[in-house]
Each structure stands twice: as C-alpha cells, then as structure tokens.
Symmetry: C2
Subunit: 207 residues, 2 copies
C-alpha cells in the first residue's frame, strides 16, 4: 500500500481537523465539506482517505471519530512519542514550551545546548543537558523526534549525534541540508527565510 508523500501531509492536516470537529461535537462530515474547510478538492480528500482503505458511508459521509481513529492507527498517531529540542536560543526555547505538543501526542522530554550558561539560566520544567550528552539521553529517554534550532554551523555535528542515538525524525529549522547517510531517518526542513524567498519567487514569476 503506497501512500504518496503529499497525501501523507494532507492526511495529517485532516487528522488535526477531525480532532477539532470532534471537540465541537460534530459526528459526521462529507468529503466536500472537509475539502471546503481545508482548501482542497473533494476528490482529493476521498483519494487520500482511500489510500488507507474504505471507511466512509455512501450517502452520509464519514463518521468523525471512526475516521480519526482510522487515520491515527494507520499513520501511527496512536501513542505518545518522545521528542527533544536541540539549541535553546529564543526559537528553541519558544518551541520547547509549546503546549500543543502534549495535546497532539508528543512530549518534549529534553532540551540540549552546548552553552553551559544557557543551561544554567534557562527557565523551564523540561530537563536540559549539554549537547555532548545527546547520544546517551536520546537512547535513555527513548526519544524519537528532534527539533534542530542550532546555528547552521553546528547543525551537521549535532545531527550526527542524534543519528547515533537512534533518532527517527528531525525537524530542521537550520537553513542547510542535513546529511543522514544511510540512516532510515526523515528530515523535515523548516526555514522562515526560505519560506519568504519562495513566496517572493512565486509572486515574481507569476507577474
């Protein structure tokens, strides 16, 4: 069963949307209603859901809870995952303290920084460690995901440590490509300046 990468992105978006619906007490919804809310086409929604098997009800649409659980179990959102933040500057500490994570099944269980001063002065409930401890702590705390908010110059070095610790995925805020060699690790690149560039480029090209 092959699910296209863009479909995975949309399904995870859909999952969060369904959580919202559930919170609002909505029990059932059609693909076209979903599509309108998410800015997509209804066929798109159906196709994406279809990759995970049949689940809808012809005539009425999808049962919200059922669909949510369906996506959840197929995509692996059905149990808590441990995560960490590497690089505790402004951005890193902002991310470390997001509340949304818990709600969505992630728990930030560690922060890392190479600067001892930062570790001593930081104000947070989460355990923080020096960067040289990354490999050990990642193993010890069973950390699956990492957010990288270090200066670009140390990004690869830190990545290597995470890989050795057996990390599963990295969200990279660094502007730069991270080599993960042959490790079975996915990297998601997030770059605000890059996002600006893309927006400008798109609007320039279509003028």
């Amino acid at each position: 069963m092959k699910v296209p990468k863009p479909a995975v992105a949309r399904l995870s978006m859909l999952y969060r949307f369904l959580e919202e619906l559930e919170k609002q007490g909505i029990q059932s919804i059609s693909s076209s209603k979903i599509a309108a809310q998410l800015g997509l086409g209804s066929h798109n929604i159906r196709k994406d859901i279809g990759y995970l098997g049949e689940i809808g009800n012809t005539g009425s649409g999808y049962d919200v809870k059922r669909l949510k659980d369906h996506i959840s179990s197929h995509l692996g959102f059905d149990h808590e995952r441990h995560a960490c933040v590497v690089g505790l500057g402004r951005l890193g500490s902002a991310i470390m303290n997001f509340d949304n994570f818990i709600v969505n099944g992630y728990r930030i269980v560690a922060g890392f920084d190479s600067n001892i001063n930062v570790l001593e002065t930081i104000k947070t409930d989460i355990d923080v460690y020096p960067s040289h401890a990354i490999e050990d702590i990642v193993k010890q705390k069973n950390i699956e995901l990492a957010v990288l908010t270090v200066p670009v110059a140390s990004a690869q070095e830190v990545t290597d440590k995470l890989l050795q610790g057996g990390i599963q995925g990295i969200v990279n805020f660094t502007p730069g490509y991270l080599k993960v060699y042959d490790y079975p690790v996915y990297v998601s690149n997030i770059d605000v300046v890059g996002a600006f560039d893309e927006l400008i480029a798109l609007s320039t090209l279509n003028r």
Copy 2:
C-alpha cells in the same frame, strides 16, 4: 516560462547555498558538486537552473556570482522587501528578532499584537502596533510579507486585515487553513506539530 513549484523551492535553496559559496570565495561550481551538497541529483539542479535560461559553462560549471545574480533577478531577490510579524508571543518575538532576515534582503518593519500589555512590555527596536492597525500600517509601510504567529482562533480575522492591506505573501505558523479568497496571495504553511505528524506517518508507513 513555467517553473514548477518544487523547482522554485529548490532554486531558493540553491540561492542561499550560492551566497554561502561566495562568502567562502568559491568562484565556480558544477551541478554535481551542488547536488551532492544539497542532497539532490545533478540533473535536478541543471533542470531547475534551465527553467531560468542558459547560464552555465560547458566543461567548467557555473560561475557562482553570475548564477546567483541570475537567480536573484529572475526570482525577485534583487531588492529589499518589507515584512511584519503578527502575534508577538514567544515564537513571534523570536522570529521578529532573527538577524538572518536583513542578510537575505528582508526587513521586519512592524510587529502587531492585539494585547496592549504585550505591546507595552516588549523589548525590541522594531515598531509595534495594535492588531486593529494592521491594514493601515501594511499600506503605509509598504509591507509585502507577513508572518502569522497568533492563536489559531484569530488567524482568519488577522489574515483578512492583512489582505485588505494588500499583503503579497503570508507565512502561516498557525495550524489551520487560511482563506485568501480571490486575492493573489501565496501562503506558506509551517507547523511544527504537523511536521512531527508527517515524520511519524512516513516512518510508520514504511515499516
């Protein structure tokens, strides 16, 4: 001349890479060297560059400065752009104070928040305004780009104001779809929790 969206993303990545090379004093580089550094195929690089016209030298490769300027002028990176941040919580103020922006041709010229307390206590050199002033200030300061770091509940409302101000592009950190109606505006969605979800989904599906 049609440039695929993914190619635009890669070209902007390439642009930043070229800046780096220039800083290091490297004058010339081949598509395969670029590709290795950026984790892509060399044909990919050539094709992408090709969308903007011929520029390389057979036998040697690309002249770094020339290629950089070429991309710059085609993609619109050749002059400073004004930007703003809406929502001055931890994340918003962290982003507002990134130094990288200036280097890359962006200048954050305003911050907005609906909470007067936040505006009064914030410590920054950038001018800050209440959210109801968004439309006016965006027009007045000629702001082309906005970063959205408000709670999801107020995202659409703030977006509407930005649109009325004539914004060109929005980088949305809110987990949720922003309606931009018929405005010719691009939105780039950045969502850390969503990124986690995608990483988990990808690694779950390929198990």
